[in-house]
């Protein structure tokens, strides 16, 4: 099992997986059943829990997480994004033909989802007469990219169909991370050359951190020293990406690919060590995302196309992907891919980091709220076990 978003199984996961649904939840058992059918434990969709928690703690409700604190948590959020990028990079296996085909299917469905959501959002924004202090194309692109992310884990007890779909859900992160990095680089870039330069700097930062980690991890004299190297590599990736106003997700993904592809055990070391503090980082990221949610008119207006056209985009993308992988049924694939991941929230947070505008805040709020709404849709639209082939 590869909990790619949470960096591996920890004791909490083990306990949760072994525990049955408590009796008092029987009333909503039909919902939990569909969630289990997706291969997700009822409470392992962390966004459902921690985003609302962050919202309640944030400046909009209790004010226990004021903006000062949120601002100071920015570096930690960046490191969390870098860690997620590392796991995405290390999960990118294209060695055999099946994986390459699944990567193609994932890319097709992610691209079509981005296209559907972004074009619908862009057209609606022009029709609504929105006055934005950011390029409307970038706003629409970020909405589409955040919507393209899917989430699924791969419990061993499910069959071949679920295994393939899970791989597709993992692979579609790659397109989202790359497209998200391009969108982030485009924010405020003075021309195409400047944007490409910024993108190149992020990739270079990831490569350098990857090479540095590869050289250092296995040469550590103690576990403590190795831990310092790992933390240093993470901080280097996140810090460098933030310094150039780039995407720590892309930098982390490049480093993850390095560690996976280069000889040695760097990937195993980073997986083992990062998983120790991956959960707190992910929780922090979601809580911060929740605290940043502002229920403004613009966020609510953007929420509608995000949810509706993400659904349409997933159906269209799944239909196209089923032509690449004929053994998959498009309806089932779409139903599985409806479950959003926290990567979309991460992309939106990264967007807010590089563009401190009201529009960026509204986009992040719409993405966070839309992720919750899509979780509910995923509960309702999950396929039955009998449809698996």
């Amino acid at each position: 099992m590869d909990y790619r978003e949470t960096g591996g199984v920890d004791q909490l996961d083990v306990n949760l997986r072994e525990a049955a649904a408590p009796p008092r939840l029987r009333a909503i058992d039909f919902l939990l059943r569909t969630r289990v059918a997706l291969g997700l434990q009822p409470v392992t969709a962390p966004a459902v829990l921690f985003v609302p928690l962050g919202f309640v703690l944030g400046p909009q409700v209790l004010g226990l997480l004021p903006r000062t604190v949120i601002t100071h948590l920015d570096p930690a959020v960046t490191v969390a994004l870098a860690a997620i990028g590392i796991f995405i990079g290390m999960g990118l296996e294209t060695g055999d033909r099946e994986n390459r085909r699944l990567l193609g299917a994932a890319s097709v469905q992610a691209f079509l989802t981005i296209l559907t959501v972004a074009s619908a959002t862009l057209w609606l924004m022009s029709q609504w007469g929105l006055r934005l202090d950011l390029a409307a194309g970038i706003v629409a692109a970020v909405m589409g990219i955040a919507a393209s992310v899917s989430s699924a884990s791969a419990p061993d007890r499910l069959g071949e169909t679920h295994r393939l779909i899970t791989r597709i859900a993992e692979f579609d992160d790659v397109v989202s991370v790359v497209a998200g990095a391009i969108a982030v680089a485009a924010v405020g870039a003075a021309g195409i050359e400047h944007g490409l330069l910024r993108l190149g700097e992020v990739v270079a930062a990831g490569l350098l951190a990857g090479l540095a980690g590869w050289l250092l991890f296995e040469r550590a004299h103690s576990i403590a020293e190795r831990g310092v190297f790992v933390i240093g590599a993470l901080a280097l990736i996140g810090g460098a990406a933030e310094y150039v106003n780039g995407s720590p997700l892309l930098a982390g993904m490049v480093a993850g690919i390095c560690w996976k592809r280069l000889p040695g055990r760097a990937d195993l070391i980073i997986r083992n060590d990062v998983s120790r503090f991956q959960h707190p980082l992910v929780v922090l990221l979601l809580v911060v995302a929740g605290a940043l949610v502002e229920v403004t008119p613009l966020a609510i207006w953007l929420l509608a196309p995000f949810v509706v056209f993400r659904l349409a985009g997933k159906v269209i993308g799944a239909w196209a992907a089923s032509w690449v992988v004929p053994s998959l049924r498009a309806g089932d694939l779409a139903a599985y891919l409806l479950a959003p991941g926290l990567l979309g929230i991460g992309l939106a947070l990264n967007f807010v980091q590089v563009s401190s505008t009201e529009v960026a805040a509204a986009v992040a709020s719409a993405v966070a709220l839309g992720t919750l709404a899509s979780e509910v849709l995923a509960l309702l639209a999950a396929p039955g076990r009998d449809r698996e082939r």
Binding site: G63, R67, T71, W128, G129, L130, L134, V315, R329
Partner: protein
Amino acid sequence: MDHDAGGQRLWTRETRLLLITVGLSLAVLLVLARFRFPDQEPLELPTQPLQRLAARAAFDDLSAAVARAGERVRPSLRIVPLPGPAEARSFSLEDVLWNEPDEPPAPLALAYRFRPDAALMLTQSRVPPSIPPVAGLSIAAVDEVRGFAVLRVEEESGGSWQPLSTSNPLAPQYLLLAEPTQAGVAVRPLFGGAADPFVDPQWNQPILALGRDVHAPDGAFVFSLESAFVGAVINRLGVQAIVPADALVRAAEQLLAEGRRPTSTIDVRVQRLDASLTAATGSPRGALVTEVAPDGPAAAALIPGDVIVAVAGRAVDTPESALLEIARHAPGSPVPLDVRRRGERLQVTVRPRAVRAAGADRTSGALGAALRPDAAGSRVQSVEAGGAAARAGLEEGDIVTWAGDVTAPAPARALAAWEEVPAGATLLAGIRRGGMSLVVALRKPEPPADAPRPADGRGAGTVRD
């Protein structure tokens, strides 16, 4: 059979699901598109006590946003050193270490590269005929009424252009002010909180007043915190104002197409109306004529005591408006003026003449200075505006101590050295000014192709005994 099988494959349950989804999505799209986004509500102050305590974060955020935006806009900006008195100054080590500067620093202007091959610059003073080549820029066109120049970017690379602002600069917001300093382009936040528009006669369109307490140098550029171009700062009647970016770029494009725009005048002096003058003339606003040049364009049309109330049908409220409105008309073209004279309203027509701008005769090969003998060389007795001497910064009272290879040149020898300089070349000369030794570069411009050649090569300067 094959056709039927293919049709069944295409018309599967999945395809029907796809079509239904797409159809429903399109329907939702059309329904959503029927709405209009409501206008933004006014800003609300934070109510949470912890939010108020978190005010420092706002400043931190602002600092970070200014720093980021500054890095983005700097590649589009160039500092242009302007010719000025402070350029002609020499220093010793003691001056640098201990002496207070007794002159203002050399005037600087800022050029904004609004497209890859062109930049624009506001000086709010007379635009110089040329600028030093160090900035990689040369003057392509000048609008002297507005103190506005379009510069040609000569360098191949080393900059990028910024998009125009799409934000509404009328809304209260923090902006980024970029201003020239001796150390480079400095950026700082500027709060545009009272950007009330008013029609400026110089720009003939609404510009945005920033208020009297805002300190921003003329010619500085303003960007949004997302590094979009918002406009440029000018000083109008003691009020700082922003000329919007679209107006600047439109004017620059028009100027590039038209070339140098001549400035017109009718050679009159005018005065502001106060309460007593308003009561006496019967005109609440306008420009009261105080003096008319006897041989000027308005000699036959205006008399002292007239009040110009409109120029070419456009009402003028102030003396500045009247002069600037006239200045925008082409020299020699008929300009109708609405005038109030002894309580009666009448209309006269004047044909303004072109103002001879400084440097207008810059293609002349004359030195443009009168010299007289001095023990140390030649003393500059007077300097003609627009001549090579004036352009090099020579001033009355300067003593030319050497010119080219000649030391302590007598006036005739100094002028001979100037005559020997071919067109387009430069003569270096040493001068002494108030106990300070300086070096000036006297450049002899290329004569225009159709310019008549002087028969004896004289007329380059004047020698007085």
